[in-house]
Amino acid sequence: MGVEFEPRIIAFMCNWCTYAAADTAGVSRMQQSLNVLPIRVMCSGRVSPEMVLRAFRAGADGVLVMGCHIGDCHYSNGNHRTIKRMPLLRNLLGYTGINPERLELQWVSGAEAPRFVEVTEAFIAKIRQLGPLSQEVME
């Protein structure tokens, strides 16, 4: 067997909630894997399908979209669009033969640093099991 596969994950994080949680997790020196590349956006509603698809095209094995819980959005209802958009995009990936599990939507509030770690670690483990994206999209 060759080099063990290390998943490359891109995580879109909203500035007000999830990014704050990620910051807290880092400052508190919580144990975390190194597989996640964070991209800070002002609101999870900013994350367009194009951005998620570009992340996959660029080589991400998994994409996480994270933001405030419904009702807590800093812009009041930006995340309403996210919660409707992401299930459709997951389904679309499935229809084209890419495992829909590679895209996940999670709400993580600013106070939930441990949950941030939990969610990201679980996702990394899942993607490690699924294997690299290139297996499904042979270049």
Partner: protein, 280 residues
Amino acid sequence: MSGNASEGTLEEIRKLVAERLALPVQAGMGVDGVVALRALNGNVAPHVFQKGDDLSELVIEPKYPLMTLVSKLHKRFPQIRLGVVARGCDERAYIEMAKRNQIDPARLTIIGFACTAEEAQACHCLEPYPKQLLVGAPPAPGQVNPLVAEYDAMTLVERRAFWRKQFEKCIKCYGCRNICPECFCEACAMEDKAWVEPGLLAPPFPMFHLIRAMHMASRCVACRECEAACPAHIPLTVLYDLLRRDMESLLGYLPGADMDAKPPLSVTLEETPLRTEAGH
């Protein structure tokens, strides 16, 4: 696509168009022109019939997405009043465009007619007639495309292989985007080099097609014009039909069905709630 439109249907439509053109515009009932198809020297193209035009040139096939022309004229001439000879798909396209301020319902009169059973089948159309039906009786609906009906049974590997083969044929002519009545964005994501790399035909991760499918999710009215315009015969609407199904089950929305239903992806959960929790 050839239907078996009876001469009677065509005569009735021409009569209704003539009547509409004869009404005075000032009275609020008349129109400046009627958008329909015109046959000239054996070829057919969209046309705006105006008072005095020879209506024996008006035909109803092969179909074109006439609402695109209506929208263009409504935007170019803010006072123009139009009629349009419309099939079911034309009316659905109109409903989605009107919601997005591309067509002004107050300045459009629909002269609706039913497709034939053969046309319905060729388009796999479930509602081959407009709500504002003036000519012809609703035929039997077309059967769902077997590929769509049996899609859930396909494994991920099979689906991948299928679309890989299909998208390899794509020559990026943008015909699907150009002919689509719902594609009116002046700044199109498909022309943004951040998303769709110029100089590269469909890569194995087909950005162009995936983005288009997502954009079509709340807009596609299953008129099948994109498939008719594709020189590579890619069955695009298989993907769009699957997403239409999801729009209905997840958000209770069917494009073209209801003028008062708001496009769910743009509005809040209070206006269009999710029916099931985040996807499977």
